[in-house]
């Protein structure tokens, strides 16, 4: 049984598990867009990147494709990881502002500016539909075609395939088909986050994060919440002493 260290926690997991599985086993939330437990991993969305130490160097690697091996040292929410996710989500929001899943993740990871023009693409090429159709529905009716920016999900010869069972599983699993709420700011790229909050843990315990998502402490108006901090600054109350 491989034993590894995630966010400082020593853990033993079963053979064949990925770091994503291991982290989730510990209750650590890792965001994903191209992963589903019943399908093979793809490593396409890159949102699940975690910081991994091996041979003295630290690298970001996708947790869903990384086998949980002996001796790995992993941080799931280090500053580098959080920054990467925030920048990735900024790019995702610009690509597909209409996806609820992406908007929620953006607010969760603090992507609260978007410096790109919105594109309104209909697909982020996560490949979930392709794998779903092939691995769960046993139909194999859709696949990828093209390369680079021409890459797209397509059917053979772009015609409705008679292998398609019209089961709708591909639609069900697609993370961008899920419409975002048409709330008060429906027309903006970023809908500004009903879930927006700051993580306390990261500021008080370097590189570590608690397992609750959203964290209970964050929901209470603790001293680390940005709005509270601003207020405290105005009132000249030193943040550190509030504990």
């Amino acid at each position: 049984m491989p034993s590894l260290k995630i966010n400082g926690i020593e853990t033993e997991v079963e053979h064949g598990m990925s770091v994503l599985d291991a982290a989730r086993f510990l209750g650590l939330p890792i965001p994903t867009l191209c992963h589903d437990d019943g399908l093979t991993p793809a490593g396409a969305c890159r949102l699940c990147v975690v910081e991994v130490e091996r041979n003295g160097t630290r690298k970001l690697l996708s947790a869903c494709t990384l086998p949980a091996e002996d001796g790995l040292v992993v941080w799931t929410h280090s500053e580098r990881v959080e920054r990467a996710r925030r920048l990735l989500l900024e790019l995702y929001v610009a690509t597909c502002p209409s996806s609820k899943r992406i908007q929620d993740l953006a607010s969760r990871y603090g992507a609260n500016i978007c410096r790109y023009d919105a594109e309104h693409e209909i697909c982020i090429q996560c490949g979930l539909c392709v794998r779903m159709c092939e691995q769960q529905m046993m139909a194999g009716a859709i696949g990828f075609a093209g390369r680079g920016s021409n890459r797209r999900v397509s059917r053979p010869f772009d015609m409705t395939s008679d292998r398609c069972r019209q089961c709708g599983a591909c639609l069900y699993i697609c993370p961008v088909c899920e419409l975002r709420c048409a709330g008060p700011q429906a027309d903006t790229t970023l809908c500004s986050g009903c879930l927006n909050f700051a993580t306390v843990c990261l500021q008080s315990y370097d590189h570590a994060m608690c397992s609750l998502d959203p964290c209970h402490a964050c929901e209470l108006s603790g001293p680390f919440r940005p709005d509270v901090r601003v207020k405290n600054e105005l009132l000249k109350i030193p943040t550190g002493e509030l504990k």
Partner: protein
């Protein structure tokens, strides 16, 4: 054709070859590499053969075609042996004079000799030509001496001696140890220590495989092709030794389909080596079995990436896969696999022949041996150069490359292929090795080296490379697919004068993101040209953004052409070349350019004899 059943037989055969070959016999070798062939080497060969026959020297003089010498720009190139007289820019009409000179006692044909542009002196031997004088041609040195389709030629320069050495009593541990001690690092780009990679792979259970990466997708690079075409046996010998060390029975060479000559020479070499008993079953009677298959690549840049290449050989779509697992753990057909570049494999026989200490003495502390660069761009001597690691950029550009043409200033050097970085002229004394280049923000890559002078716009350069990488990205992972697209959009905007100052921070953030999170090295390095130009040429970006000016006067939306009324003599030459009909004026009178119609092609500037056409950057002045 002998089938050599033991190392002793190999050495005996080599001795016999040497005895039948008279070293004093005149031999005319003509480069038949792709560059020289394009320049007419084929005709030169035919003319030489004809003239040799006519002069009645058929039994006394050999005529032979060989591989590339690197100085392709001066092709067709030929050498007269045994003197080693070096001729350049040979035409088929020169054949008579060349053959006559041999009959006359080898007086060199003066007009075909290379003239040093600095001193004006004629140079007789190849190694005296300044282009070659500073080189150390460990891998390429034999290219000009052997006929790539003749295994005896290779044997005659000491070929397969390293294999003989390995098979006469070395253990596989010793072979890997020698490769480790030589300090050889992979020549395909990343520079991973080769011996270490072999050691990792050998730990894993058989069957194992090995692959020679001859995809060479970098535009403008042709080092691997030259070696494949010019000396295929050196690569094969390296692979056979690798097969012994790694316990491999099956190997692959993945060549891009655009290299038909390389494929042909490789196939001939494989067949000859099999016939000689150097490849196939029971190699030199040792019991070792090794077969080599040639696979033609699909011609996508990303297929050079090792995991994509492996998928491609397996017949799948050539998309990179997450590592780990590394190929040394799980590669081809899910088996442990070593994949190395063409030059890496070709270095192996050299190391075993001369010993790891000899090899490690060349180069720098952490980068050993020689590296082959393709030197192109705004430089006098373009071509392939093989130099010891650690040579400075100054030596490379001024001593080997002969400086910048037209008396212009050096501005930057882009090293490492499309995703390498731009190193500014101020770092001219940088020693070229893996680590120094990485420190400067660039990388060794495959060895592409593009020299840029003051007439190059660095923002435009960054935009150009990003466009290439956007097209070549496989598109499977998000940061690379979208990052290259967004970067190209932002850079295009800046080049058009519509950039914002915040764009620079955005480019840096995006570059960081792509480097940190992309799946394969294409996306991880794609931002290098942007990040290095931002680091070293920020002013140029700011000039585009703040002042709508392109200091190098390249970006079309930011320049305009005018005619200087003092110099224009009204000849009308410019009117004829202007496709946009933008130039107005009567004969013998002052001409003017209508900026609204001008497409900024620059054709008028080229034809104007009195140099009256001027190009400026910035807002078009209001006509008074």
């Amino acid at each position: 054709m002998p089938r050599l059943a033991s190392v002793n037989e190999l050495e005996a055969y080599r001795a016999r070859l040497a005895a039948t070959r008279d070293p004093t016999r005149p031999c005319l070798t003509v480069c038949a590499g792709s560059g020289c062939t394009a320049a007419g080497a084929g005709d030169v060969l035919t003319a030489l053969r004809k003239n040799v026959e006519k002069a009645g020297l058929k039994d006394g003089v050999d005529v032979k075609s060989t591989g590339c010498h690197g100085f392709c720009e001066r092709g067709p190139i030929m050498i007269v042996w045994p003197e080693g007289t070096f001729y350049n820019k040979v035409a088929s009409s020169d054949a008579r004079a060349i053959v006559a000179s041999i009959a006359d006692g080898h007086v060199p044909v003066e007009k075909l000799l290379y003239r040093d542009p600095a001193s004006g002196q004629a140079v007789v031997r190849e190694d005296e030509v300044p282009f070659y004088a500073r080189q150390r041609r460990v891998l390429f040195g034999n290219n000009g001496r052997i006929d790539p389709k003749n295994i005896d030629d290779y044997l005659n320069v000491g070929g397969y001696a390293a294999l003989g050495k390995v098979l006469s009593g070395m253990t596989w541990e010793q072979v890997i140890d020698q490769v480790k001690r030589s300090g050889l690092r992979g020549r395909g780009g990343a520079g991973f220590p080769t011996g270490v990679k072999w050691g990792f792979c050998r730990q894993n259970p058989a069957p194992r495989y090995l692959i020679c990466n001859a995809d060479e997708g970098d535009p403008g690079a042709f080092m691997d092709r030259s070696l494949l075409e010019g000396n295929p046996h050196s690569i094969l010998e390296g692979m056979i030794i690798g097969a012994f060390a790694l316990g491999v029975e099956e190997g692959y060479v993945y060549v891009r389909a655009e290299y038909p000559l390389a494929v042909e020479h490789l196939r001939v070499a494989i067949e000859q080596a099999e016939n000689y008993g150097l490849l196939g079953d029971n190699i030199l009677g040792s019991g070792q079995r090794f077969r080599v298959h040639v696979v033609k690549g699909a011609g996508a840049f990303v297929c050079g990436e090792e995991t994509a290449l492996i998928r491609s050989i397996e017949g799948k779509v050539g998309e990179p896969q997450p590592r780990p697992p590394y190929p040394a753990q799980r590669g081809l057909w899910n088996r442990p696999t070593v994949i190395n570049n063409v030059k890496t494999w070709a270095s192996v026989p050299v190391i075993l022949n001369r010993g790891p200490e000899w090899y490690a003495a060349i180069g720098t502390e952490k980068s050993k041996g020689t590296m082959v660069f393709s030197l192109v761009g705004k430089i006098n001597n373009t071509g392939l150069v093989e130099v010891p690691m650690g040579i400075t950029l100054r030596e490379m550009i001024y001593e080997i490359g002969g400086g910048i043409p037209g008396g212009k200033e050096l501005k930057a050097i882009q090293i490492g292929g499309p995703s390498g970085g731009c190193i500014p002229a101020s770092l001219i004394d940088l020693a070229i090795d893996y680590d120094e280049l990485t420190k400067a923000g660039s990388m060794m890559g495959s060895g592409g080296m593009v020299v840029m002078d003051e007439s190059t716009c660095m923002v435009d350069v960054a935009r150009y490379f990003m466009e290439f990488l956007e097209d070549e990205s496989c598109g499977q992972c998000f940061p690379c697919r979208k990052g290259t697209q967004r970067m190209r959009e932002i850079l295009t905007r800046i080049c058009a004068g519509h950039g914002k100052e915040e764009d620079l921070a955005l480019l840096e953030d995006l570059g960081w993101l792509m480097r940190q999170t992309s799946l394969c090295a294409l996306g991880q390095t794609a931002a290098n040209p942007v990040l290095t130009t931002l680091r070293y040429f920020r002013d140029e970006y700011l000039a585009h953004i703040r002042d709508q000016q392109c200091p190098a006067k390249v970006c079309k939306q930011l320049i305009y052409y005018e005619i200087d009324p003092v110099f224009c003599d009204g000849c009308g030459a410019c009117v004829k070349v202007c496709a946009g009909e933008a130039i107005l004026g009567e004969k013998k009178k002052l001409h003017t350019i209508d900026a609204a119609k001008c497409t900024r092609c620059g054709a008028c500037m080229e034809v104007c004899q009195p140099k009256a056409v001027l190009v400026s950057t910035g807002a078009i002045p209001c006509p008074v």
